[in-house]
């Protein structure tokens, strides 16, 4: 079975630009979560979606937004990029209330 997939793998953007990251969950998983991992730190929770509804939001500014589609895939959008947004963005999928399975991540570099 395919695991969680994310695209793109790497991305370089300029300050002030917008970025969209994509995630496809494991088949049958209806919950998708997004995390930001800065170098040297553990992943930090950004959003969780279940059945296309937002179930949780971490301590991130409104520049960060996400959505989940009817096929349970998800997008994370970040507007007005800052240098500090450079990080590995991880997507995880799960059956609700169960362990989360992580994708390989998207490495975002903001210059």
């Amino acid at each position: 079975d395919a695991g969680v997939t994310q695209s793109p793998t790497h991305l370089i953007k300029t300050r002030g630009q917008h970025v969209t990251l994509r995630c496809s969950p494991i088949s049958g998983h209806k919950s998708v979560s997004w995390y930001q991992q800065v170098l040297g730190q553990g992943p930090q929770f950004i959003f969780q979606y279940y059945e296309k509804e937002e179930r949780g939001r971490g301590n991130f500014p409104d520049r960060f937004s996400a959505r989940q589609f009817p096929n349970y895939s998800s997008e994370l959008n970040v507007n007005a990029l800052l240098l500090g947004d450079s990080a590995l963005y991880l997507c995880a999928s799960s059956l609700i209330g169960d362990e989360q399975y992580f994708g390989p991540g998207t490495r975002l570099t903001v210059t």
């Binding site: 995390y35 553990g42 930090q44 949780g56 989360q100 992580f102």
Partner: protein, 113 residues
Amino acid sequence: AQSVSQHNHHVILSEAASLELGCNYSYGGTVNLFWYVQYPGQHLQLLLKYFSGDPLVKGIKGFEAEFIKSKFSFNLRKPSVQWSDTAEYFCAVSGGSQGNLIFGKGTKLSVKP
């Protein structure tokens, strides 16, 4: 505030040495506890999890962890490490019906052959 603390930033061991990585959490209410591992160049993988029941949990590759509620701890152990255990290890907690994970900063384990 909810938080997870991992005591060791970098641990260096020789093969066959025993391993114990500390993890303490601060979280009100029922908790679910996890250890994830990230091998070089790979994505996060679940080592083991605790939801309820026996506080001694066995995971993959010979790892185990013990939940001690009175100490708010969930330490990871392995009796004899191998070079292939070189990786970064993350302790995480989630609460009750909430799905979001709160991670510690991670412990980098280097095993010398």
